[in-house]
Structures are given as C-alpha cells and as structure tokens.
C-alpha cells in the first residue's frame, strides 16, 4: 500500500486538452448531456474551472472536440476488403455511424449543432466527404452527387438520432422488447379513424430490429439513387 492516504487524490498526469476531452466523453457516456458540467469535470480531473479554460475556450468547443474524437474513430474503419462494392462501403459507414450514436446518444444532438457553423464544423465535412466519394463510385451522373450524398447523410442522422432518443427514453431496468411491446400496444389502442396507419403497423413495430430496419432504409435510398439516375 502507498503511504499517502490523501482523500482528494492529487492529479498525477499534467492536464492537457486531450485528457480533458477524454474525461468529457466519459462523463457524457455515463451521465448523458446534462451530466457534463464544469463542476463535475473539475471534480473528476481534480482541478479548478480556470485550468480547463486554459486548454479549452468554452463549453461549445469542448463538446465539439468530444464529438470529433468519437467520430474520428468511426471514419477510420478500414474499407479495404477488395470485393467491397460502393454500396457495401456505404452500408458499413452508415451502420458505423448508427452504432456510434447508439453507444453515445449525446452525439445525436451534437452532430445537429455541428452542422451549423460557417460554413461547417470539422466533423460533418469529413462524414459528407466519405459518403460523397462512395456515391460518386456508384456511377451516377455528377449532377446528382450533391443531392444523393445529402439524402444519405440526412437519413443516417435522422434515423440514428431517433434511435438514440428511444434508447434514452428507455428507463433503466425496462428492456427493449418490453418497451416496444408497450409502444405498439398504445398504438393499437389509438382511434382508428385518426390513426389507421399506426394501428396497421403496430405488429411490425413490435418485432422489428433497429439495425436491420435502418439498413433496409439505406438500401431504399441507394435504390432511389441508382434507379432515378442511370448514368
């Protein structure tokens, strides 16, 4: 055992932007968006707010850096299976983002914020570029690339965001099947005059798999891209 028994353990490593961002991601993952405050962060890092402001301009920049660090890992996945078609690569990329947002639900709101900026933040251009390169490889006319890549990216963010929101709404202790079952049952009990559609798909909701349905949606858009634009 160590001889020092100090209750408030002194920091061993020096503070750095990297260590701060790392701690921020850990807090966001563990406690959600509201769990990251300068109080909790200074406590976790055994320092004061001034120290953090030395490395980071403000909370917005900290959130942007946290987003960046998580997304960078997703974009770094290797795509070098030689037999991969552009379609396969788009599916892999889309699913990687979907899973990342599921693992880090706070990413969803953050990516939406990130889409602003003048002209953009630094993550979204890289995501857009990744989709865009693979859309170009599909062989559709160049005039359609912009719209096609945008549609893909918007769908991915929208679907992943909803999935993250659902996960967040799931109170700890309730499992997913139970949650979906309850949701579907509510839908079945809706007024059939006002909600005929929701009633008719209640069964599908009860049984669907999120990732599988997400990929079906990606395929639907890929079909739309190639079907409406034979090069």
């Amino acid at each position: 055992m160590a001889t020092r028994t100090s209750r408030t353990p002194r920091r061993t490593e020096a503070l750095s932007r990297e260590r701060i961002v790392e701690a921020a991601v850990a807090l966001l993952d563990a406690e959600g968006e509201s769990g990251l405050t300068f109080r909790t962060l200074t406590e976790r890092l055994a320092t004061g707010p001034g120290a953090i402001y030395w490395h980071v301009a403000n909370k917005g920049e900290l959130l942007a850096a946290a987003t960046d660090s998580v997304i960078a890992d997703v974009l770094a996945i290797e795509h070098d299976e030689p037999s991969d078609t552009p379609q396969d690569e788009i599916r892999t990329l889309a699913l990687g983002l979907f899973d990342a947002i599921a693992d880090h639900p706070w990413l969803s709101a953050q990516l939406a914020v990130q889409l602003s900026g003048s002209p953009w933040g630094s993550v979204t251009p890289r995501i857009f570029e990744s989709f865009g390169q693979r859309v170009a490889a599909l062989g559709v006319p160049e005039a359609t690339w912009f719209t096609a890549a945008s549609a893909l990216m918007h769908y991915v963010f929208g679907a992943a965001g909803q999935n993250a929101a659902n996960a967040r709404a799931l109170e700890p202790g309730v499992d997913r099947a139970e949650f979906l079952h309850a949701a579907a049952t509510v839908w079945e009990e809706l007024d059939p005059g006002e909600y005929p559609f929701m009633k008719s798909i209640a069964d599908q909701v009860r049984e669907h798999d999120d990732r599988e349905q997400f990929l079906t949606g990606v395929d639907l858009i890929l079909t739309g891209i190639t079907a409406s634009n034979r090069a």
Copy 2:
C-alpha cells in the same frame, strides 16, 4: 391618448396556458432557443415565475406545447385537390414541414427531443401517421410501409434541421448567396487529396436552391420506395 401612463403596463387579459405558449413561440422566433427564459417570459407577460408554473409544469412541457402549436398548423393544410397523387401529397407535406422549420429554426432541435418520450410525444405520431397514410396509398406491400414512412420522416427532419442550422449560422446582414459562395470557396480550397468530393461539388453548392434540392431528395426516396417494391 389614454389617461393612464403606467410604465409597467398591467396585464389586461388573464393569464392562460394558451397565452403563455403564444408568448413562448414569439420569443423563440425572435431570439432563438436561448431567448426563451422564465425571466424574459415573465417580463413579456408582466407576471412572476410562479404564475407560469401554475399553468405549465416545467420548461420542457412549455417547449413541447410550443412545438405542438406550430406543427398543428402545418398538418392542418388541406390536401383536397382532387387530382393530387399520393406523391404530390407527400411532397406538399414534406415541404410544409421544411418551410415551418425554416421559419422557426428552434423547431428542429425540439422535434428531435420530441421523438423520445415513452413511447413518443404527441406531435411526431401525427407526422408519422400523415406520411404513413400516403405511403400506404402508393400501393407498395404493407410489409414495407413502416420502413418507407420512417425513411421519409427521417430524411425530412434531417434535411430541414440542417437547413435551419445553416439559416441560424447566417449572420444577420450577410445574405444567403454570399454565404454559399464563401462556403463553396472554402471547399474549393480544401486539400484535393483528402476532399476530392467536396471540391467537385463546390459549384453545385454555390448555385443550388434549398427547397428545390430538398424536393429532389424527397423524389429520390419516393423512387426508392416504389422501385424496390412493385406491389
């Protein structure tokens, strides 16, 4: 002129949930999401925080009610042109939501939050139902309705959200063409090794029309729905 010249004008109408929501929407529209606080709201309504809490449970409920009141108007648009195809109706609905989010940029983040809840809030089911009914009318197999309606809704929210974010990023005084021109120029100057796609579409970005491109994306998804599922 009135004889009363009181500096802090006394409320004439009684407070009501409706009047509070109305004031909240006005503040959100005028000042953005950060412009709505209980201080600004009490000031505008010439009352105290306690009075608002009598009519509304908390800020979340207030934001939900504000969202509801704006979206209700969009969903109330008449679709009774007898010659309208389901496709036309879907385009009208999508564009209505797109324009509403452009007019009230705070809607975008709020709709994302609204998507959570157990099972859902009260706006999103109505939007989902509206898309769903029209997807069903396309004549594709029932097994595909859920995925198709989800894809449409996610695309609309994603695209509209980005458009709202762009509008917000636009500093007052700078006009849109100028903004897009600047963005495209930045893209053109990116490293061609890392960003070949963004460089290649810079021209399209400079000239595109947001609403038109949005509708092209809707058509792309409609094509995907019908092409991959001949009933």
